[in-house]
Subunit: 338 residues, 2 copies
Amino acid sequence: MENNEAPSPVLFFQTLTAYQRSSALKGAIELDLFTAIGDGPATAAELAERCQAAERGVRILCDYLTVLGFLRKDGDRYSLTKDSATFLHRNSPAYAGGAAEFLMSENLMSHFAQVAGAVRKGGTMEAGGGTMAPEHPVWLSFARGMGWMMMPSAHALAELLPLEPSRDVSVLDISASHGIWGLAVAQRYPRAQIVALDWAPVLQVARENAGRMGVADRFRTVEGSAFDVDLGRDHEVVLLPNFLHHFDPPTCVQLLQKVRAALRDSGRVAIVEFVPNADRISPPEAATFSLVMLVSTERGDAYTFAEFAQMLGDAGFAPPEQHPLPPGVSTAIIAGKG
Amino acid sequence: MENNEAPSPVLFFQTLTAYQRSSALKGAIELDLFTAIGDGPATAAELAERCQAAERGVRILCDYLTVLGFLRKDGDRYSLTKDSATFLHRNSPAYAGGAAEFLMSENLMSHFAQVAGAVRKGGTMEAGGGTMAPEHPVWLSFARGMGWMMMPSAHALAELLPLEPSRDVSVLDISASHGIWGLAVAQRYPRAQIVALDWAPVLQVARENAGRMGVADRFRTVEGSAFDVDLGRDHEVVLLPNFLHHFDPPTCVQLLQKVRAALRDSGRVAIVEFVPNADRISPPEAATFSLVMLVSTERGDAYTFAEFAQMLGDAGFAPPEQHPLPPGVSTAIIAGKG
């Protein structure tokens, strides 16, 4: 960062124009450009025909996506990178193009248009609690778009939860959304019964995913807020994926106490979160997530492992352990009932 | 890019959320956070008081800006990097915070919300020619915000134009905007007379800058479109900074012919542009600029040096030379009348 060279406005310029990268990628997804490129290198003229677009437009967008690292260019022909083929080709089982609808939803982008206001206030400028309002529509696009991208993390989490294979166990998935976290456990453990809890509209997505993953017979749903509904009892595992970051620590402790009461004695809570290091500026994906919570919730944050350990301890849990989940963005924090 | 590891969605995720970086920086500029940090390392609590903001909000934003490289963090205290002190502290002569108003103007952002449509059409979705419409208001925010950031490039360009110091010479600055390109020539050559041509509203900004730079007595203005007004004659230099990229090659040639007719025999045209290499995917700042032109103009583009050489030749100019301008984003292309 610091050196003896003349000061440079390049980072400043790149950052003020970074939104153009998001928009370019979203546009390419809308055009289904990555699917059009498919297996073979293709010219802008060929792609223009497949996408019913102007050759000049396709050429400029493909060059842009090549600079960003989503395509390769050899001569005048474009091809997919491995990552693009995996996540952006519509026929890929890991297709994640739908994530654009959540990550660039009008709602979330409007929050980010008010960063200064949120910093002044110390929380979201949206009336009614931001995205934590009951049945906020943004969660339907989250459930639809974000599930398949989570699959490697969800499979890794399932491996971290050795369950007794010889008896029926109950797994409660709080804020289940797309349901992937619990469904990965159901796939791994044939005698696991999954209870998915969330707002009614998103549970429809989870039910569809349960069918696709072949575990619908061991999947049931509970509609409502985790703070209000009966969580049941004697669960072997309660999953809390990407939920606690929406709340302040006292609220998290209150929910963790309720979760603890719903576990059997040998049970564990498995939290999935963006967990920054104690310096709060690394790793980048986890550290930058705090700002998402600042602008879109009243009191949410990205908490450090020490803060989660404190909350879990305050709620009566045993000291937790943490495990990074692939691809390295999220962390699992697992604690016994204590 | 390609390796044997599992595919990663990290670039995809980073790109879809890149707009959050732009918004965070814009928010910090609106809060005047960089000026509040000033000389000394400061805590979030101290900055919250100076910015009349919530400590929690300031802490989260400062951590975010640290991850991006705009701040340093030691313990719980934040300080400016050299670049931030230069471009984002309001008391710096190179303060460029106003660039956010242009680069993130509602107009430009709305263009980028329609990338797919612009690719289909092969040009801007905005009626009336996009930002090339007469007196489009976006150019006032450009003139106000982008001038001082151009100063190192403008001084470098003035050095590339050895003018006869012993006689009066006329320099025509087409699409002068903030006027910085011509004004830097006036500062360097005490007998240079500058004629700045642009829409009337932005010329007010250029006139103010001429006063600040102490060369108002050798600065006059012509209002209107370069395609319509009389360009005068016997200019020693005609400057064309960041203008030709808005048009297609035949239109550029037409203007270059008109420019050539306004030069004295020893005269030269000096074009400043984002010039990608022949591969059109490097360097990144120049290559990505094509998309800005696609979404905001009908037929504009970022042209290669070979394309500029062709246009200049078609207009009757001698073969051009090119010179990269600091900080490495723009290129000067200079050609004699031939």
